[in-house]
Symmetry: C2
Amino acid sequence: MTATITAFVSSPDRGRGLARDMRVRWALEEVGQPYNVRLLSFKAMKEPAHLALHPFGAIPTYEEGDLALFESGAIVFHIAERHAGLLPHDANARARAITWIFAAINSVEPPIWDLSLTRIIEGNESWSKQRLPLVEERLRKRLGELSTRLGDADWLDGGFSAGDLMMVAVLLRAKPSGILNEFPKLSAYVARGEARPAYQRAFAAQLAVFTASSANG
Amino acid sequence: MTATITAFVSSPDRGRGLARDMRVRWALEEVGQPYNVRLLSFKAMKEPAHLALHPFGAIPTYEEGDLALFESGAIVFHIAERHAGLLPHDANARARAITWIFAAINSVEPPIWDLSLTRIIEGNESWSKQRLPLVEERLRKRLGELSTRLGDADWLDGGFSAGDLMMVAVLLRAKPSGILNEFPKLSAYVARGEARPAYQRAFAAQLAVFTASSANG
């Protein structure tokens, strides 16, 4: 049964692959599963039909037969658990790969999100400029710790896993600020993720949505 | 093999059960598994021996034979996956319970953390008071959405699961601000979690650590 995911009809990142449907698209491409996409406006995301799928009125969601999921981390894990290619077979290695999924969204994404919040969402508030250095320092500290752990390895723990997929997807959100590039090992890690054919197929698919919506709008 | 977790030797929450080891203790109590605790000072958390276990120098960690994990979400999931009692057997219900683990740490904990950040960590910064209403509004919006989804149910999706465990543990962090109590359904939900014998055993264990450290310090 082909799964259906949701995505922005017109992504606020203008097709740069930073919206959270990208992680799910990428995971589905890695395991070779086709999928359908239902596009949603910001207005439709807050309507009852979508809130029944996603209590916080966001994207992505994942529908497959009777199953409906939300939260990109949960969806990527679900895909990784059901199809070969994103989690190691060894039980301990598998548990560590899952740990990196959680680390990406729980320990690395929050300071990146706080930077977007400070620069963009709170960009016109009186405190934004004053607060920015503190937020940037927190992010640099976290990325420094991650870079130290990665070291010269290609991936976080052995072969490429769902943990790397999620971490690369999260780190990409720190790229526009320029801060990711201050950490050459992490930049190279992200570039390795972006070079994967599955990533490129997913990226092209989400870009095509934005291009079409721009042409139509 | 008995697992060993790490916790603060002297928790900054003064034994109120808000530190992240509490989630792991609670999960272990729910599934009836004994565990050892290794206590760490803030200094020890940043030393190489601990950074080898936890790249971001935090607690909790989880060691069991050759396996070492970090991230409370990953540890709770690991426990729930290996022992009966925290995840439903039905595959779809299990996937939804896992979704709530992710929702707790990815969609509910960040605005709660931002409130602590604004009030405490950035409490002396010039912008703290100005920024606070915005941060509180964001948290109220998210808690309102969660309360709507929970409705009059006892738990988020059928019986108590690891998803509820994580959500209650996260929501407890919004209690000291008084904002949780603005949502009676969520307050009652949290109280149901706190009333569980496993929660109470875990709470007593973490409080005993703080009491001992206070007596010694």
